[in-house]
């Protein structure tokens, strides 16, 4: 079930009616959230509900066991089981075929003819999100960062909470479980902000869907593509992935606010970043902070002289988290190298004036160079293969080479794509800076929301799923 569909609209209205008028006690409401979340998930594929519930049950009891066990080996074993189960689920459903295919390719390179057959399992939607979320609970309990919660239903409902189940943001147990315990009521101010976020998210998703056309022209064309259309496609993909994912996150946060739940922001104007490090502080914040807390720091973080290695491993695995393909690994490695290089350069005295400069021109240069690097990264992310990515990168830098001339209207499409990307960021800036103030002006606020909704309904009834569902 996708947020911006009439089916979800009907589902949410029915849910709200039960939540607000029928189930008035805390416990029934938690049960209702759980049932609704499973229905929401089951609308995609009921067969994987046991996997979701099973993951919750295993981590719930393991966390209890960890908390009850004395410090030492037993706690480590229980944590190890939790990590093994969660990563095992991911390994089987997400990475098995990738591993089999890679081994087969390697054996072929070595001159063998392997007869390895792939498992061809369906990738359960949202698996990367809920396994990370569930795993963070047992790790937090193990570290003593939080006490285990009593109440399996409460824990399962929190893990399966439908606004953020299939595409995040990835919530920590300590962020969401206490909210399920006290089950907050919405306030009208929060609800209005929720409506604003839902509308902005819907708009961004609509724009993202519209950008799919230029992306396909650049990346899926069977023949060579002009320089302008190639750049347009890469720029459009930057907009598509941002609009799609941040749009979903905004809607998730907005929907949660309508129920009284607070979910932290997942994006903060990422394409305004002034360095790759800055980009990762603004892009998919819940994942980058998860990777920092549960991977980078356990690897040693900045300590022990292994900082660059740890950054690289973290980003490499972060890339792999996005998908089981070498293109994602390459994307992760590319960003790992960029972040490492940024840290290294900022430590050099030679670059200190550049790094510390606050001048407009220097900031503009830093922004442009960072944005260029991000775009190069998106080529790796979007291409169907490493070879395809390389070809695209060559095309993007083939000024004066014998490429086809751009189609009629290509310049207009480029302009529209750039405008769409900028508009999404300006919209986000407006929400961050003026959202709450706007929500206090009902005569401007509601007509604006209705107009944007109408525009989205007019041009953006989706048939395409959110890109991040596949991760």
């Amino acid at each position: 079930m996708i947020f911006n569909t009439p089916l979800f609209f009907a589902f949410f209205i029915v849910f709200l009616l039960f939540y607000g008028f029928v189930f008035l006690q805390r416990r029934p409401r938690v049960y209702l959230i759980l049932v609704a979340s499973l229905v929401f998930y089951g609308a995609w594929n009921y067969a994987f509900i046991p996997l979701l519930v099973g993951s919750a049950v295993v981590d719930y009891f393991l966390a209890q066991g960890i908390a009850a066990a004395p410090a030492g080996r037993r706690r480590k074993i229980l944590l190890g089981i939790s990590i093994a189960v969660n990563l095992g689920i991911l390994a089987v459903f997400k990475y098995a075929d990738f591993a089999i295919g890679s081994v087969a390719d390697l054996l072929r390179l070595l001159g063998y003819e392997p007869s390895l057959s792939s498992l061809e399992l369906i990738l359960p939607v949202g698996i990367s999100f809920y396994t990370f979320q569930s795993m963070s609970y047992t790790i937090d309990v193990y570290r003593g960062d939080m006490q285990p919660r009593r109440g399996l239903v409460e824990f399962t409902a929190a893990l399966a909470f439908f606004p953020q189940l299939v595409a995040g943001p990835i919530l920590r147990a300590r962020q969401i479980l206490p909210q399920f315990h006290r089950l907050p009521l919405p306030t009208w101010t929060n609800a209005k902000y929720g409506f604003l976020l839902i509308t902005v998210g819907l708009m961004k998703k609509t724009v993202a869907d519209l950008l799919a056309g230029p992306v396909a022209t650049a990346f899926d064309s069977s023949g060579p593509v002009s320089l302008m259309e190639s750049w347009t496609g890469v720029l459009a993909f930057a907009g598509q992935i941002y609009g799609d994912f941040s749009g979903y996150s905004d809607m998730a946060i907005g929907l949660a606010l309508l129920l009284g739940f607070q979910i932290p922001l997942n994006f903060r104007l990422p394409y305004f970043a002034l360095s790759p490090v800055d980009f990762w502080r603004r892009w998919h914040i819940s994942l980058s902070s998860w990777l920092r807390d549960y991977l980078y720091i356990p690897l040693g973080g900045n300590r022990g002289g292994n900082r660059y290695r740890n950054i690289f491993i973290t980003m490499l695995l972060g890339g792999l988290w996005h998908g089981a393909a070498w293109t994602f690994v390459a994307w992760g490695a590319f960003h790992g190298a960029l972040i490492g290089a940024t840290h290294k350069l900022s430590e050099l005295r030679l670059f200190a004036p550049f790094v510390q400069s606050r001048s407009l021109w220097m900031r503009l240069f830093k922004w442009a160079f960072t944005f260029y690097l991000i775009l190069i990264g998106w080529v790796l992310f979007r291409a169907a293969s490493l070879e395809g990515a390389w070809q695209m990168l060559v095309t993007l830098h083939s000024i004066g080479a014998a490429l086809p001339s751009p189609s009629q209207g290509a310049a207009l499409v480029f302009g529209l794509v750039a405008a769409a990307l900028l508009a999404m960021h300006l919209m986000d800036y407006g929400v961050l800076e003026y959202g709450e103030r706007l929500a206090q002006k009902p005569w401007g606020f509601w007509p604006a929301l209705v107009t944007v909704q109408a525009l989205c309904l007019m041009i953006g009834e989706p048939s395409s799923e959110f890109i991040y569902f596949q991760f």
Binding site: F9, L16, G20, Q25, L185, Q408
Partner: protein
């Protein structure tokens, strides 16, 4: 811990629900208003089809034996019901025929329309004496389908019925709700259809002919177009040519009703349409939009066509499946395409038990009888092909069917 169940809490949820419903209602209202204001309505997409569908009860109430020719815009241009009826009557075989040829459809949409026709005939306990069904090869290609994907749900929502939507709702709730939404809340226009309609100008340009335009022919064509429009308005003051007109049985005007002078102007007009530039450009357009040379069929469209035939078999005494004449000077299929076409035809024949009439290379129809690479000219090709149908079908097969 129990929550307080105060009235303020309920009031807050009531307010949230109300805002969602009112907001969505207002947004939908704006959408409908905009659709109406800009003329992007179900009528704009399917006006003739809807008019024909609305005429079905009147058709089934006709006292005469009924004949229907069902197909694409090639049928619309190439079959004249009134000429057909007159020539049949002259042979002592009175029938009332109807032209159900519509442009812009593919067999998926036609299948839905054929179900509506079948339902109406079954409801009124009427039968067609003869159903003529066009199999238009380039209408069933993958390319053709891909060109209309964004309109698929709009077409299905407009032509479908709630009874058809409910099983979809069970099988695929997302799509089922969308169909209901498009049909009943959005006035038949899906967002995809709307977007593709307004963004048509941004589509990558198709390949164009390198043959230069004959400027004199172009100027004369414009002039003739203006004169013929004027003549049309004088001859038929109450009729708009784009409508499915009951009086004309869905077909167009017939040569007998036009003056010799007008017909001469039409001959000249057709000649200006048949310049090398125009025809080559049209050929490229058909290749681009319908894969007319290679004919890579979409199996689902062929399947849908078979269902169309079966729908007509259920309500007809006799069903004829035909392939209309093609402009062979401009459209020549590759050997592979010919093989693919033969396979598709064999499949249709096997599934329906009918023998398909192949009129693609009809000697009576010459390239000069077309207005472009695919459509017959109304007053030349259309007349000749309608006459051919009378001659082919009336003796002895039609007599047998009518008797």
């Amino acid at each position: 811990m129990n929550l307080s169940t105060s009235s303020s809490e309920r009031a807050l949820f009531a307010r949230i629900v109300l805002v969602i419903l009112l907001g969505m209602g207002a947004a939908l209202g704006l959408v409908r208003l905009f659709h109406t204001g800009t003329g992007i309505t179900a009528d704009a997409f399917l006006g003739r089809v809807l008019q024909a569908k609305a005429a079905l009860p009147r058709i089934t109430a006709e006292p005469q034996e009924l004949v229907m020719f069902f197909g694409s815009s090639r049928v619309e241009a190439g079959f004249s019901p009134r000429q057909f009826d007159r020539e049949m009557a002259a042979r002592g075989l009175p029938v009332k025929s109807f032209n159900f040829g519509f442009g812009g459809l593919n067999p998926l949409f036609q299948d839905t329309l054929s179900r509506r026709i079948r339902e109406q005939f079954e409801r009124d306990e009427r039968r067609l004496k003869i159903a003529l069904i066009e199999f238009n090869p380039f209408q069933a290609t993958v390319t053709r389908r891909n060109r209309a994907r964004e309109a698929e749900e709009t077409m299905q929502a407009i032509l479908g019925t709630p009874q058809e939507f409910f099983p979809v709702l069970i099988r695929d709730p997302e799509r089922g709700v969308r169909l209901f939404n498009i049909r009943y809340l959005r006035g038949g226009i899906s967002a995809e259809a709307f977007t593709s309609f307004v963004a048509a100008g941004l589509a990558p340009p198709r390949p164009r002919t390198g043959i230069p335009e004959d400027e004199a022919a172009k100027a004369r064509r414009r002039e003739l177009n203006r004169i013929l429009d004027q003549r049309f308005q004088e001859d038929y003051p109450d009729y708009r040519a784009k409508q499915w007109h009951y009086g004309w049985q869905g077909g167009g005007t017939i040569a007998e009703e036009r003056s010799a002078e007008t017909l001469a102007l039409f001959d000249e007009f057709y000649a200006t349409l048949r310049t090398e530039h125009k025809l080559d450009d049209d050929r490229l357009h058909r290749i681009n939009t319908a894969d007319i040379i290679e004919l890579n069929f979409d199996p689902e469209l062929v399947e849908a066509f078979i269902r169309i035939v079966k729908n007509f078999q259920a309500i007809s005494d006799r069903v004829e499946v035909l392939m209309l004449p093609k402009n062979s000077r401009w459209i020549q299929n590759t050997p592979e395409a010919t093989e693919r076409l033969a396979a598709a035809v064999a499949r249709i024949e096997e599934e329906t038990g009918l023998r398909l009439r192949n009129d693609r290379e009809l000697p009576a129809i010459t390239p000069e009888m077309f207005v472009d690479t695919t459509h017959l000219a109304r007053y030349t090709g259309g007349v000749a092909y309608t006459r051919h149908l009378v001659e082919e079908l009336a003796p002895p097969e039609m007599e047998a069917a009518i008797d």
